[in-house]
Symmetry: C3
Subunit: 190 residues, 3 copies
């Protein structure tokens, strides 16, 4: 358990290797799953920041849940996700300049299910304030980090690739819910 948590492939596992060695196909599949999941997570900011409803419809399951916690509207179902991205509110955010910025995600795969824990910043250009000049990099009022949230993505393997069955996010505000999400990356050490 501890070993599994710390490494995809422990450096030394004499018992496992003797009793139940992973096949080459199993190892390759685990690697390809990981890389497919990285691209799925990396595709989220481009879809959110362009309001690509058809993309969201394709990567959420029919009954996929988007849970933003109290205070912000979530939704259920891939068609409703698509509608959220193309809603007037979301389109207004895009028109003001919107960037979802994702850090390196932590990925745990177990068969046909996977859990991804990631941080995300939501950025917008500042609309007021003094411009600052940086040599060779122009002038700018800078950007406002509007939200920093922790994310738990529950994924499942489908005939058309890994899809999102539930995404839960909570703001980093010093309260427990965002930490509860982070503990999903710590396995037995949470």
């Amino acid at each position: 358990m501890v070993t599994d948590m710390l490494s995809d492939r422990p450096a030394d596992r004499p018992n496992d290797a003797a009793q139940n060695p992973p096949t080459l196909e199993h190892r390759l599949r685990a690697i390809e799953d990981r890389l497919a999941i990285y691209n799925l997570i990396a595709g989220h900011p481009p879809s959110a920041d362009t309001g690509a409803g058809s993309y969201a419809e394709a990567v959420y399951t029919d009954d996929g849940v988007f849970d933003r916690g109290p205070g912000l509207t979530g939704t259920t179902g891939n068609k409703a996700m698509a509608a959220l991205l193309t809603s007037p509110g979301h389109q207004a955010a895009i028109a003001g300049g919107l960037a979802h910025f994702t850090g390196l995600p932590h990925v745990t795969i177990a068969g046909d299910d996977a859990v991804v824990i990631s941080y995300l910043q939501i950025l917008t250009p500042k609309k007021s304030g003094a411009e600052i000049d940086v040599p060779n990099h122009g002038s700018s009022r800078g950007y406002h980090i509007h939200r920093v949230v922790t994310n738990r993505w529950e994924l499942k393997r489908t005939p058309s690739g890994w899809k999102i069955k539930r995404r839960t996010l909570r703001p980093v505000d010093g309260t427990e819910p965002s930490r509860e999400i982070l503990r999903g990356a710590l396995g037995a050490f949470a």
Copy 2:
């Protein structure tokens, strides 16, 4: 097409598997390509923030293009890229404290070509304002996010590794050009 976009290795592709299964070598090469490209993208901030001209010369093609859009100087050719990093303007930016900070990139590989779509923040220490104290983490005036840009990296395989033949970046300012870059990660759903 849809399946290719969503997953590096679809969970189920009976037709493909029967007609034209990828070989082990093909699968391994695709994985190694992906990881090589991650390191190429991860090497950009260290090279930009230290002004490592010889590195830039090595990773751009002879005719590589660096396109920052209207308002900022771009250049063409790996030797010119090197010169830009060692220019007085760029060195002045470094002296003030400069951090290029990259999010998780989206990577699409097709044979000997690849396209990477990524977000990048450019950060500098604030030169004025009140210091804030965070327990166990010292005092700081904080950092100014000078720019948030979307990037399209067009890469090609060469005998000495993947190289950059064109990097196009556009600022997130609510206008269309930065969104056009992001759509490069959405395949048929853009």
Copy 3:
């Protein structure tokens, strides 16, 4: 040397291939090592921001060094690392809202050792100032980027996975030490 730096698997290496081709097992192991290291680096923010001492104890070596440079307390040994995360000072930072946000790391593996170079932001919610509204994304005072640091992670393979034997970080403040860390990602081009 140059080729090694730019690519995990050069596109063309006739001499190597003829004299000493890597085995399938060697290639798979290199890939699995890389992915294990990505998860190790991605596990750091969740552990730091929840104060997970037992996690830190598991991923640092017995004599692991945590070097934050002049001005901030570092420590030596995995048990001392755990104590730092559970200290009153660190817990106070967590209670105020704390997010370690990591960019895409650069990874170099050489046998049973690895070096990772990464950027990290430390963010906290602003405690004062005007609230800004972003359509469909609520209101917020925004976040303060308290620190931007460069990190060098020296890892080693152990029977229970890759562990941290030394982590060195330096703030981006325009001085040389943070650049010295970044050069660890540039190989012969530093």
